[in-house]
Subunit: 553 residues, 2 copies
């Protein structure tokens, strides 16, 4: 039985593969599964192709039976930005970046607690099969996020470049609608806001900013430990988290992070929720992957705890502080999933500075930031490519050259040893040692990228996630601004509400800049310090070798 959907808004196709659809038209769906926010189907003119999932409403009566199979109460509950991606080929055909260049694409979980341990668990199904599973390609690519050094490195430039442009623009209007921005602007949002839920935007030196966190804290993440359950039939990695404000360790699995992330994205339409590190990396050793994910989670946690709004929201606090009591955990989990202050209602919680912003000024600031993010996105791709290539060269070429020279010096000393004159012994030993020193220096070069290039790469990954978030955030604000311009009569309340959205957006942008300056400063310093001690280590090795020529002379 064919699936049907009702078209909610007009959509004009702009790219090959898309079809135009008209409000109130009924379209036939080929599948109810969304691809990156798009559905495939046929319009009433008989044209087949893609259209934005958010522009239509699936006619539920027809698919009641199949809906219960996949555990989703409604396809709309699945955020288009985080829908699972069934075919990586469609990416190149459609011309937009996988996961929009930065979005981790994983299933959101909003079903019953029963699917808590389903297949997307990050442990292996059985310890014995662990190795085999790690190397075989997954049936469905479980991540289309930032390609690391191991995997899709070569495509990363292409993907990321397109992230801020094609892929996002197609979702522009739907984002405004879906985020709740439109509903709020039109006065359709209403919810009870407790004092504790109130979020303040204040006027700072550089414009609106989130009120400073009065109770800042951080949170450490221990090395993950391998846990098993069902008598060893299933295994998973568990991370020990210790927030400084409670100083009590809680244990969380990757899927808990995953669940939290989905709640946060839903909850905060104009806040850039840091992306989680990729769920699975192919082609890397397990140990490398675990270490990389942990470093990614540490960065993620850093950005969570240093965000004045995210750090103190209920769901995150539940995540950080709920102990091993399963009942308490489930209660908090259900509370979070039933939270009313999501989407449109989020804006109800925001208090703005007394003086409203000048909307023209806001528009130009937003435009400037858009240009900034585009340029930054492009250029961190250049940096990432350069340092990944540099790391690769150090691990292979640089190491090889130093070791070849080292070996050749050792050969020289071997030839010289054929001359048994006593006065030559010291020299032979010294040349041999010099050869060993060069071989050691080759190893230093190969080990170095892990110390000073990988951390930059990790940082760039995190920022590419943020940069992938901002087009949606900007579109919410732009949507509001456009609506206000279109309806000049209804000035009062519409303006106020547009001011709220603008204040929140600018506060988030300001927060982004502050964090960016902090992070890049500290990472560049770290990098340079590491490089300095690396070259000092080489110098010391050479000085050691030089000394040998004075011995036995």
């Amino acid at each position: 039985m064919a699936l049907k959907a009702k078209v909610l808004y007009d959509f004009h196709s702009e790219n090959p593969g898309e079809i135009s659809i008209t409000e109130n038209e009924t379209v036939t769906l080929f599948s109810e599964e969304e691809l990156e926010g798009w559905l495939e189907g046929e319009n009433s003119k008989g044209e087949a192709g893609l259209f934005p999932a958010s522009y239509v409403e699936i006619l539920r009566d027809h698919i009641a039976s199949s809906a219960s199979n996949n555990g989703f109460s409604s396809p709309k509950a699945q955020s288009p930005a985080h829908a699972s991606y069934t075919s990586s080929d469609s990416q190149s055909q459609r011309g937009f970046g996988a996961g929009s260049g930065g979005g981790s694409s994983f299933h959101t979980s909003q079903g019953s607690d029963d699917d808590w341990d389903d297949d997307w668990d990050d442990g292996s199904p059985a310890p014995d099969a662990a190795k085999g599973l790690g190397t075989s390609p997954p049936l469905y690519p479980v991540t289309t996020s930032l390609p690391g050094r191991g995997g899709g490195q070569q495509q990363s430039g292409q993907q990321a470049k397109s992230s801020a442009t094609v892929g996002r623009n197609l979702n522009r209007f739907s984002t405004f609608v879906k985020s709740g921005g439109e509903a709020f602007l039109l006065g359709e949002a209403s919810a009870f806001v407790k004092d504790g839920d109130r979020i303040c935007v204040v006027m700072g030196k550089h414009g609106p900013e989130w009120q400073e966190d009065p109770y800042p804290f951080t949170c450490t993440i221990d090395d993950p430990t391998k846990q098993t359950k069902f008598k060893g039939m299933k295994s998973y990695m568990s991370y020990g988290l210790t927030p400084t404000h409670t100083n009590v360790q809680v244990n969380r699995r990757y899927k808990h992070f995953d669940w939290l992330y989905a709640r946060l994205v839903e909850r905060f339409p104009v806040i850039s929720v840091p992306h989680l590190p990729e769920k699975q990396a192919t082609g890397r050793f397990e140990e490398d992957f675990i270490s990389k994910r942990r470093k990614g989670l540490i960065w993620w946690m850093n950005h969570m705890t240093s965000h004045p709004v995210l750090a103190h929201c209920d769901v995150f606090q539940h995540f950080l502080t709920c102990g091993a009591d399963e009942k308490a955990w489930k209660m908090g989990k259900r509370r979070a999933e039933k939270d009313e202050l999501v989407g449109a209602n989020f804006f109800l919680t925001i208090s703005t500075p007394a003086v409203p912003l000048d909307l023209q000024d806001v528009e130009s600031k937003i435009e400037g930031f858009k240009t900034f993010t585009k340029k930054m996105d492009e250029n961190i791709v250049v940096v990432n490519t350069a340092i990944n290539e540099f790391a690769r060269k150090q691990i292979t070429g640089f190491k090889k050259e130093y070791q070849k020279v080292g070996l050749s010096f050792k050969f020289l000393s071997q030839a010289f040893e054929l001359d048994q004159q006593a006065y030559a012994v010291g020299l032979n030993r010294a040349i041999n040692y010099t050869g060993e020193a060069y071989e050691a220096i080759g190893d230093y070069f190969a080990e170095q990228p892990r110390q000073d290039l990988d951390p930059i790469s990790d940082l760039l990954d995190l920022y590419r996630g943020h940069l992938a978030n901002f087009p949606d955030i900007i579109h919410v604000q732009k949507g509001a601004l456009t609506k206000v311009k279109d309806c000049p009569k209804q000035e009062g309340e519409l303006h106020d509400r547009c001011n709220i959205i603008s204040c929140a957006t600018l506060a988030e942008i300001q927060h982004f800049h502050r964090t960016r300056v902090r992070d890049f400063r500290s990472q560049m310093q770290h990098h340079l310090r590491q490089q300095i001690s690396f070259f000092q280590k080489i110098t010391a090795k050479l000085e050691d070798a030089l000394q040998r020529y004075d011995d036995d002379q």
Copy 2:
């Protein structure tokens, strides 16, 4: 009119392309030009091919007219090891190394003073044509010596490996004959030896050695200056030499070195005369070539002045001390060319320690040295290949990688500059400076090989020359030993004369080892010191960059 030659000794062909010839047979020559000591012609059986030039005597009557054209009084005056090489293809066909892997092959000059400025002059024929000539390939390869980084680098391993084996062995017996070793051993040498010509071999701690130089001196070589003559029609480079024992500068051209070298080779059958740097390098900038030759000449001069016998011989002293008086120069030149104490007669000048050597002991020492030179020759090829490749990588790959990273950091700072917040300015500048620092480090890498790898390469060149000399020297000693074994009756005088040859050979070997240990010690130290200051320079640059992150914070 066909050239004829009379066969002096039997020669049995051992390799494809060679023909056998019989004593007193008359052979027809296809050309009187020698290829690496070989002539091409037809024997009386009608077989055409190659045979050793030194085994025949060209019948002069037939070629009187053509002989005057090339300025050689006799082809025999041209040492087979230094004959010009007309076809580089014949090398691979014949299976022996070009120039025996180490011998600079240039024309020896023993004609009249009139050909002093002939075509093999090292200046360009006219200043205007200088550049064009520098890049066009010479009609006849003027050098087949050590392939430098520019030219035949890839073949160098192959060539040098064959140097100590195939190429030399073919000349073995002729060397014993030609050097005068045989004539001396058989008591056929006779000449008047002045006290000043006497050369002492003394018994040292490690065996026979040349008596230490009582009047050591060194000699500086200034940067060459370009001179012209014939009203600017011809130009040449002139080197100012200042020996420390006279402290008077004399000016010499490359061809003077060349002439001197020929005299020394002829004069001292068992002394390893250092090879001159290559006459012409193709594919390198003129400036590079001049600098490389000068460095080569400095090394050459160092080995000349530090050799107790070579340093004080008449012809070298004439070369070092004769001023601008052309008459005096020509007189000394003629005297040197008429010197009777060449070849066989050289051995008449040698005084040995009182106790004769044990010939079995000598044989085993010589065998050991032969093994040593073979191994050293092989392994310095490995070193040379490794450091040349290392230099090339630093100049290209290493530089490129650092500059790519540098450029990417500059791109990052450019993106960041789009954010005009005051608190970001310091960071942007610091990142930009870091980019510049990386670009500078790239340049450091590219400049470094000239400081610490090229000098090793120059040293290896010099030593490959010595290693190419030793097979001939060893063959003279071995020839004598074989002769003594073959004629056990004539013990007395034959033994004494064999002892003289053995003492001289071992003294030269001992000198070689001492110089080798001295040179390699000092060059390795120089290399390491340069490397250390190189890495310190990089560290300083990075520390400078790091400091920028503290500014404007």
